[in-house]
């Protein structure tokens, strides 16, 4: 008798298990995130002592930003990692032809696998840095369970936006074959425009307003603001989540268009 497991949860579980295998790498990654958390936390303490209330955060909120964003980096694949290089490799070697034959949609497949990976890294690499940060520094973590729930929704949307953009980066290999250049540029953009270098609310003037509407803002800045309760009232929270949902839909849609354009002209490499 065939056991029917729903396809996408099974793919996601596979992604989760695959990353859960590398315990040492996970522990080492947690260590790195924690070290960086300490270093950046002290720079933010100096900055916020000099300018209290900078970017609309008090010092505890700024420190929360540091530690929770260190916890989200791996899950959101904000400094590289994730599936896109593997997809590019499959395009370069021609293995993508096999993937296209499968009775499963390419984009949904990678989305499910990447969400599985992200779920593991959220747990495996996310919990410890935030706990360490909360033990050592006064953080502004909310006590309200609804806020945490909204944060979780916002994180899931952030992961989908991150996936959708990296899927486009991956598909670029159909035209470029070697993806290393575009991957590097994508990493540069996500490091800077996600709010990882500095919260986007600290970016000055019109440039600040510009970076806050880019898709990278949906990957880190928006979830952080939801957690820190920067949105007054249900309408503003809905607006923030809607902003993420808008970018997710737009980028996933663009991904589908590019995917169909790419597969129509696919010439399988190698033999």
């Amino acid at each position: 008798m065939r056991l029917h497991v729903p396809l996408w949860p099974a793919v996601a579980a596979g992604g989760f298990r695959r990353y859960a295998t590398y315990t040492t790498a996970t522990v080492a990654g947690v260590f790195t995130n924690t070290v960086f958390g300490f270093v950046i936390a002290y720079t933010y303490i100096a900055l916020w002592e000099e300018r209290p209330g900078l970017g609309g955060y008090d010092q505890a909120q700024a420190l929360t930003f540091v530690w929770v964003s260190q916890s989200l980096l791996a899950a959101g694949a904000l400094i590289g990692g994730g599936f896109q290089e593997e997809l590019q490799e499959r395009i370069r070697t021609g293995d993508i032809a096999v993937d296209l034959y499968r009775p499963a949609d390419l984009q949904c497949w990678w989305l499910a696998a990447d969400l599985g990976r992200a779920a593991f890294q959220l747990l495996g690499r996310g919990v410890v840095p935030t706990v360490v940060g909360a033990l050592v520094f006064p953080l502004a973590l909310p006590g309200d369970p609804v806020r945490w729930l909204l944060f979780l929704v916002s994180v899931v949307l952030a992961l989908v936006v991150s996936f959708a953009l990296r899927y486009l980066v991956g598909l670029a290999a159909f035209w470029l074959l070697d993806g290393s250049g575009v991957n590097l540029m994508a990493t540069v953009a996500s490091i800077f425009f996600s709010g990882m270098v500095l919260p986007l609310t600290v970016f000055p003037g019109a440039f600040g307003e510009f970076v806050r509407v880019l898709p990278w803002a949906a990957m880190l800045q928006v979830p952080m603001d939801v957690l820190l309760g920067r949105h007054a009232g249900a309408a503003e929270v809905a607006g923030a989540l809607g902003f993420q949902l808008g970018w997710a839909a737009a980028l996933l849609g663009l991904g589908r268009l590019v995917q169909s354009a790419a597969t129509r002209r696919v010439v399988v490499q190698g033999g």
Partner: protein, 266 residues
């Protein structure tokens, strides 16, 4: 010597291979410099809001930033791929290196030599150049000379961390990130003045893993700033000595690591 020759040959091979894709190389070079420069853009934005951080002005922090970045860049260029050793142990490809007539460390260091890492060095030198011009220092010959000496000694200190980290991976497996947190994380720390960190943290990077000698101790002397732990004045010139001292345990750890290596057999 034999190791250096082997290292040079392997590096030359990788440079020729890189130059086969010239456009890609220049893009990666620019990308490498840009990624490295983002931290400085962050510092620059901070100084849109403040005049001083931990009592240090933007040119002073730029001097700390530039010197540390050049040191890390040099170490990263020359030895940066030693962190791949865990992956090589895992997939068994280290065995091939053991039978070649070149010291394993030279092979591991030269493995996939990435010339694009010049990008970080150039970016660090550019910031250093601006800082030297902008900072209010009476540039005596001694101070001018101290900067390049500290940069090279700092590279050697980072190199020691990389070699020790590679040795650690014989024990721990694929733990490249641990050494990254001391090299890249240490670099991020050294870009800021020691006044903003806690005393314990500064002590740790002075006496346990002496990263403070990469740039803090010599550059604070150049800037005429007091050294926070009250080290004697000659300490500012001690970076080369510290580098030599830390390379000893690092190389011993490497030897112990390679001796204890058991192949996966695959």
């Amino acid at each position: 010597m034999e190791g250096l020759r082997g290292y040079g040959l392997i590096v030359g091979m990788w440079i020729r291979a890189t130059m086969a894709y010239r456009t890609s190389f220049f893009l990666m070079l620019v990308g490498n410099a840009t990624i490295s420069g983002l931290d400085f853009v962050g510092i620059f934005i901070m100084f849109r809001h403040v005049d001083a951080l931990g009592g240090f002005s933007l040119p002073e922090i730029a001097l700390l930033y530039g010197t540390s970045t050049v040191s890390l860049g040099l170490a990263d260029l020359l030895l940066g791929n030693t962190d791949r050793i865990g992956a090589r142990v895992r997939d068994g490809s280290l065995d091939t290196m053991l039978v070649r007539p070149v010291p394993v460390l030279a092979q591991v260091a030269a493995d996939r030599f990435a010339l694009r890492r010049l990008g970080r060095i150039v970016q660090g030198l550019a910031v250093t150049g601006w800082a030297v011009a902008a900072v209010d220092v009476d540039w005596t010959a001694g101070r001018v000379l101290l900067l390049p000496v500290a940069m090279v000694a700092g590279a050697a200190i980072f190199a020691a961390v990389m070699v020790a980290g590679a040795a650690f991976q014989f024990v721990a497996g694929d733990a490249a990130e641990v050494q990254n947190s001391f090299t890249y994380g240490g670099n991020t720390m050294l870009q800021y003045p020691p006044t903003i960190f806690t005393r314990e943290l500064v002590r740790g990077v002075t006496f346990v893993i002496p990263l403070a000698f990469v740039n803090w101790v010599p550059v604070l002397h150049v800037l005429g700033r007091p050294e926070p732990l009250g080290l004697p004045g000659w300490a500012a010139y001690a970076s080369p000595l510290v580098a030599c001292v830390v390379l000893v345990p690092a190389s011993l750890a490497w030897r112990a690591g390679i001796r204890s290596y058991r192949s996966t057999g695959s």
